[in-house]
C-alpha cells in the first residue's frame, strides 16, 4: 500500500513544482521585460510616432466599449443600493454609496478587465503573429531595436490608455448612477452629486482608483507584451499566447487589486 501512495504523492508534488516553475518563469520573464523597457528611457530611445499610433488604436477606439460598461456599472451600483436607500430613506447617502465603491474599486477593476480583453489580447495576437512570421527578426536585421520600436510604445500606450479610460469611466459611471437614481428612486441628480461632494468623498478616493489603474496597466502591458514575444509554434501558438495573456492579466489584476487596496488603505 505505501508503495502505491508514494508515487501518487510524488506526482502531486511534481505537478505543483512544475506549475510553480511555470509561474516563476513567467514572472521572471515579465520582470526582465520591465527592466528592458525601463532601460530604453535612459537615455530615451523610443519611437514617438509609434506611441501616437498606438494611443489612437488603443485609446480612442476603446472609448465606446468603456463608455457602455461604465454607464451600466453606475446604474447597477444604484440598483443594488436601491433597497437599502428606500428602506432607510437615505437618499442623501446614495451618491456616497455609489461613488465610494465605483471610484475606488469597480471602475478601475472593470475598465482594466475590458482593456485587457480588448487591447491586451489584441496586442498579444499582433506581437505573436509578428514573432511567428519573422517580422520581429526583420526589424532586428534592419538594425531597429524591437523593444524601443515595438514594445515600449505599446507598453506606454496601454498604461496611459487604462489611466485615461479609468478617469473617463469614473465620470460616466457616476453620471449613469445619478440618472438611474432619478429614474428608479426619484433622487434628484443634484442631491446625488451633493452626496459625494459633501465631505464624505474626496480627491483621495479618485486618486486611489487611478493609482490602481496604473498598476493594472503595468500588469496588462507587461503580460501582453511578454506572452506576445514568447510565442512559438505558428497560428496555434498565437492562440495559446492570447489565452495565457488574458488569464495572467486577470489573475494579476485581482491579486494586485487586493495588495494595492491593502497598502492604500
Amino acid at each position: 500500500m505505501p508503495e502505491d501512495a508514494i508515487p501518487r504523492h510524488t506526482q502531486v508534488f511534481a505537478a505543483a513544482g512544475t506549475a510553480f516553475l511555470r509561474v516563476a518563469t513567467t514572472a521572471g520573464g515579465m520582470g526582465i521585460l520591465l527592466f528592458r523597457i525601463l532601460a530604453r528611457f535612459f537615455p530615451p530611445r523610443i519611437d514617438g510616432g509609434e506611441i501616437w499610433k498606438n494611443l489612437y488604436k488603443m485609446g480612442v477606439k476603446s472609448l465606446p466599449i468603456v463608455a457602455i460598461t461604465a454607464l451600466f456599472t453606475g446604474a447597477i451600483m444604484v440598483v443594488q443600493a436601491a433597497t437599502i436607500v428606500k428602506r432607510y430613506s437615505a437618499e442623501g447617502l446614495l451618491g456616497w454609496g455609489a461613488g465610494f465603491g465605483t471610484l475606488r474599486e469597480i471602475a478601475p477593476l472593470l475598465t482594466a478587465l475590458m482593456i485587457s480583453g480588448r487591447v491586451g489580447a489584441n496586442n498579444t495576437a499582433e506581437l505573436g503573429t509578428m514573432v511567428v512570421t519573422e517580422q520581429l527578426d526583420a526589424l532586428r536585421v534592419l538594425a531597429i531595436d524591437p523593444i524601443g520600436f515595438l514594445i515600449v510604445p505599446r507598453f506606454v500606450s496601454i498604461v496611459a490608455t487604462l489611466f485615461m479610460m479609468t478617469l473617463f469611466a469614473d465620470a460616466l459611471a457616476l453620471f449613469g448612477a445619478a440618472h438611474t437614481g432619478k429614474a428608479l428612486l426619484n433622487v434628484d441628480p443634484v442631491t446625488f452629486y451633493n452626496g459625494f461632494t459633501a465631505g464624505l468623498l474626496d480627491f483621495g478616493d479618485v486618486a486611489n482608483g487611478l493609482t490602481k489603474s496604473v498598476v493594472f496597466g503595468v500588469v496588462i502591458g507587461l503580460a501582453s507584451c511578454h506572452f506576445g514575444l514568447a510565442t512559438t509554434g505558428g497560428a496555434p501558438g498565437v492562440g495559446r499566447a492570447v489565452n495565457a495573456q488574458v488569464v495572467a492579466s486577470a489573475a494579476g489584476i485581482f491579486v494586485l487589486d487586493y495588495v494595492t487596496s491593502f497598502i492604500l488603505g
Binding site: 509578428m130 512570421t133 517580422q135 527578426d137 526583420a138 532586428r140 534592419l142
Partner: protein, 252 residues
C-alpha cells in the same frame, strides 16, 4: 585582379536539438561578387545566411566579415554589421501593419534621420527600382508573394548595404520579374561593387549571373566553384541537382 575576402565561414557547426544541420561548413565570399548558395530543401541554406546577421549563432566555428570575427557579437555590436549587410527573407516578412512605402521608409526614417513625409517620398522612388511604384499605398497582405518579395528587396537596399543576402529572391516571381531581379543583382555588383549572396533554386538565375557557386549537401560543402566548374563536374550528386533529375545518387 586580386580578390579580397569579404565574408569567411570557417567550420560552422549548427544543430537544432539532436539534429546537426550544418556540420563544418567553410568557404569564402569575395568582395563584389555574386555568390550563389544552392542545395536541397532543408539542407540549411537559410540557417547559414542567418548567421551573418546575428539571427542565429553557430555552435562551433567562426564567421569573418571584413576582417572582424562577428559570430560572438551581441545585439548592440551587431547593429553596424546589420546596416552594412542587408537581408531579404525567404518569405519577404514585410511589416503587415504598414503600407509598402512605409515598409521601405522605415529604415530611412530610423537611420537616415528623414522625417516620415520625406522618407515615404524617398521610399516611393526606391519602389521604382523594383517596378512596384504603383503599390506604395497598399498593404502587404493584399499583395501576391512575388510583389511582396520585390518590396522586400527595395527595403533591403535602402541603407545602401555593402553586402546583401537574398534568400530565394526569384522564387514565386513571374519569369519577367525574375530576370529583372537577376539583372538588378548583377548591376549592384558591377556598378556599386555590392557583394551578393543569393540562395536560390532558380537554375536560369544561377547559370546567368553567378560568379561562384557553393553547393551544400548533408551539412557539408559539396562543391565550390564557378559556373563552368559546376557544368563540367564529374560529381554525380551535383550533376543530378543542377540538372533537376529525379533519379540519381542524391539522397534527400
Amino acid at each position: 585582379m586580386s580578390v579580397e575576402t569579404g565574408i569567411r565561414f570557417q567550420n560552422i557547426v549548427k544543430a537544432f536539438g539532436p539534429k546537426r544541420v550544418l556540420n563544418g561548413v567553410s568557404f569564402d565570399v569575395h568582395k563584389g561578387e555574386v555568390f550563389f548558395i544552392i542545395g536541397a530543401s532543408g539542407v540549411g541554406k537559410s540557417v547559414l545566411i542567418k548567421h551573418l546577421v546575428g539571427l542565429l549563432y553557430p555552435d562551433e566555428g567562426e564567421i569573418w566579415l571584413d576582417g572582424e570575427e562577428i559570430s560572438k557579437f551581441d545585439e548592440v555590436r551587431m547593429g553596424p554589421v546589420r546596416k552594412k549587410c542587408a537581408m531579404v527573407f525567404q518569405h519577404s516578412t514585410l511589416f503587415d501593419s504598414m503600407t509598402c512605402a512605409e515598409n521601405v521608409a522605415l529604415p530611412l526614417r530610423k537611420h537616415k534621420g528623414l522625417t516620415l513625409k520625406e522618407s515615404v517620398a524617398e521610399a516611393k522612388r526606391r519602389l521604382h527600382v523594383v517596378h512596384m511604384q504603383e503599390f506604395g499605398d497598399r498593404y502587404p497582405p493584399e499583395l501576391g508573394d512575388g510583389m511582396r518579395k520585390r518590396v522586400a528587396i527595395a527595403r533591403a537596399l535602402t541603407l545602401e548595404p555593402e553586402y546583401v543576402l537574398f534568400d530565394e529572391p526569384t522564387t514565386s516571381l513571374d519569369p519577367v520579374s525574375a530576370r529583372r531581379v537577376d539583372k538588378l543583382i548583377r548591376e549592384l555588383s558591377d556598378t556599386l561593387g555590392v557583394t551578393s549572396i543569393v540562395v536560390s533554386h532558380d537554375l536560369s538565375s544561377i547559370f546567368t549571373i553567378a560568379d561562384r557557386i557553393v553547393m551544400l549537401y548533408k551539412g557539408h560543402v559539396r562543391l565550390l566553384g564557378t559556373r563552368d566548374d559546376f557544368k563540367h563536374t564529374p560529381d554525380g550528386v551535383v550533376n543530378q541537382f543542377i540538372n533537376g533529375r529525379a533519379q540519381g545518387p542524391m539522397d534527400l
